[in-house]
Amino acid sequence: MPVLHPEFWRLLSPEWVLVCFGTLFLLLSALPATRGAKRAIGVMALFGFAVVLVLCAQTLAALSPGMHVAALTGLDGQIGLTVDGFSQVFKFIFVLGALLTVLMSFKYLDVEKAWTGEYFTFLTFAVFGMMVMASGVDLLTLWVGLETMALSVYVLAAYMRRQEPSVEGATKYFLLGAFSSGLYLYGTSLIYGATGTVQLGAIRLALMDRLAHGGPAAVGFPLAAGLVILSVSLLFKAALVPFHWWTPDAYEGAATPITAFMSVAPKAAAFAMLLRIFVVGFLPLAPMWTGLLSLVAVLTMAWGNIAAMLQNNVKRMLAYSSIAHAGYALVGLVAAGRSQSNQGIAAVAFYLLVYAFMNLGAFGLVLYLQREGSAGDQMDDFDGLIQRSPLMAVLMIFFLLSLGGIPPMAGFLGKLMIFYSALDARLYLLVVVLAVTSVISLYYYFRVVYHMFLKEGAPNLPAPSAGRPLGWSLALCGVAVLAIGLYGQPFLHWASQAVLLGR
């Protein structure tokens, strides 16, 4: 039994430690307690995610140069999951996103007086689901992870259940999400019917066998249709055009720290799953799915950026901008399918890391402007911020420049890596669209800058307060965005460890 192997427990330590913490928060939140005690759960969540972050880094460092450990390969379907460089790099990104989210939640929960232990429980279990999504090597294990994450995030999106927008956005998200989960299973059943297996490695062998013996015609309609249906459900989870309609409403309605979380971690998890399924399981069919995904990438980059220009609500604007950023990352995925090198996957991992810092930072500024009775998410809330709190205005400029992909910020380096990987794979059309839409995106990012610098704020408005945890998280994001941009080498090296087992 591989399960009883001590190596198993060591390699899966991020998962089981996280589940232990989640259960602990659950039990604690059942105790009748004051707000101070609920806050203590938040502090514990901070500690828990920090521990798991260290464990993720440790397990990544412990991997052999082959990037996986035999006891856990799961390639022949031993237990349906694997621990490879890829999974550990992505787990690190998820936990990092959750850690920053917890830091940012303190002010929001204080102002809204909405402290509960469940908030952190769901956050913890959502991250557990993401970890399964990054590690799973068969379609069913991946589905269990996907659902665990999705259910937790539905609840978190509806967390402010007295506020109508929150409930409305969460309901849309839930209905469409449930439908897309059904689609995933339908696609899986078609693939199972065609190949007789749900394990990605075996699917790949079956595909290669068919292509070698019968040529393209032997792939068959059920298998191809299954792949398309499967990808639709994953594109929905990653909020890519044309499956993005739930995003603006869900993002605008949800509590701001949850919006920040949703735009970073579940998106990264969906990309981990997309990469694993397409680049390991369906690589022999790459000519087919790279075509489809290229189309989606073009639509996503174009529509995400154009729609973002029209928004007056900063949360909604950032929602559309997050759609556009998913489009950039998708270019890396297409590149990974087209070329033999690992560059595309590393570029996606690096981009998602950078994106986590800069996007969480931008949402952090919205949280900074939040005060009693106002979410701080209107463009006008940013008016004259440079006079009220110059430091925060400068930080916001860092994040916006980075999101827009302007050098010396980290976002520039991230886009550059995607750019290189796409050039390497000769995806010239995607490269052009990426460049043009990046320029378009500057328009709406600079609108915020315009509001901060050139507009007069309302008189007598007090300077907003950050509170210490939010201040730390903003400082951390700002330093990271600048540091990765100025000295990216170690981070690029780190991302290049994201090697998919079996690729």
Binding site: L75, E147, T148, L151, V155, R161, M208, A225, P287
Partner: protein
């Protein structure tokens, strides 16, 4: 036998349509029940007796009863009134059909050039493939002698042990989420 398959599949598909299209929620629930039984027969025909029994017990016996309770406790008239007829439904349906055909066409006529197998093979060692095939054959042989529940157990607690354990977290989250959202006080 083939006729039987087709009839059964048609029956299940019709019941599924009935669930969506029926005007009264009770008729929906009854169609669902017949659909569940149809699926159970399908499992029986596939010699998965255990799964068929579970299907009847859990879905037809448990979940459907819960649905009926739910329908009893909600306002039927309100449900009937909210029935919507969308004018845009037909154009959208046509659009979807066109897209589906376009994608299907593309799938049949794309140019697959199989890449070099050994650069792609995840198990570069041919002996590993052999070992995998041997193991699978061995398991198949063992499975022929096992009873139906034993085979299910072997898959569930062997190959799928990890997702099985992860599913317990999934169910915990589902229960918690339902309770949390239905609670009065935050």
């Amino acid at each position: 036998m083939t006729i039987g398959w087709i009839l059964l599949s048609l029956m299940i598909a019709l019941c599924a349509l009935g669930v969506v299209l029926a005007r009264s929620p009770i008729s929906s629930a009854i169609s669902l029940l017949i659909g569940f039984v149809g699926v159970a027969i399908l499992y029986l025909a596939l010699k998965a007796e255990f799964v068929a029994a579970v299907q009847i017990l859990v879905y037809a016996g448990g979940i459907l009863v819960l649905y009926l309770f739910g329908i009893m406790l909600t306002d039927n008239e309100a449900l009937r009134l909210t029935r919507q007829t969308h004018l845009q439904a037909w154009p959208v349906f046509v659009l979807i059909l066109v897209l589906f055909l376009a994608v299907g066409h593309k799938l049949y006529h794309s140019d697959y050039t199989p890449q070099q197998p050994d650069s792609l093979l995840m198990v570069t060692d041919q002996s590993q493939v052999q070992a995998l095939q041997d193991r699978l054959a061995q398991e198949a042989a063992a499975a022929r002698h096992a009873t139906n529940p034993q085979r299910v157990a072997r898959v569930l607690y062997g190959d799928y042990l990890y997702p099985f354990e992860a599913a317990s977290v999934l169910l915990l989250v589902a229960v918690l989420g339902a309770v949390f959202l239905a609670k009065k006080e935050v």
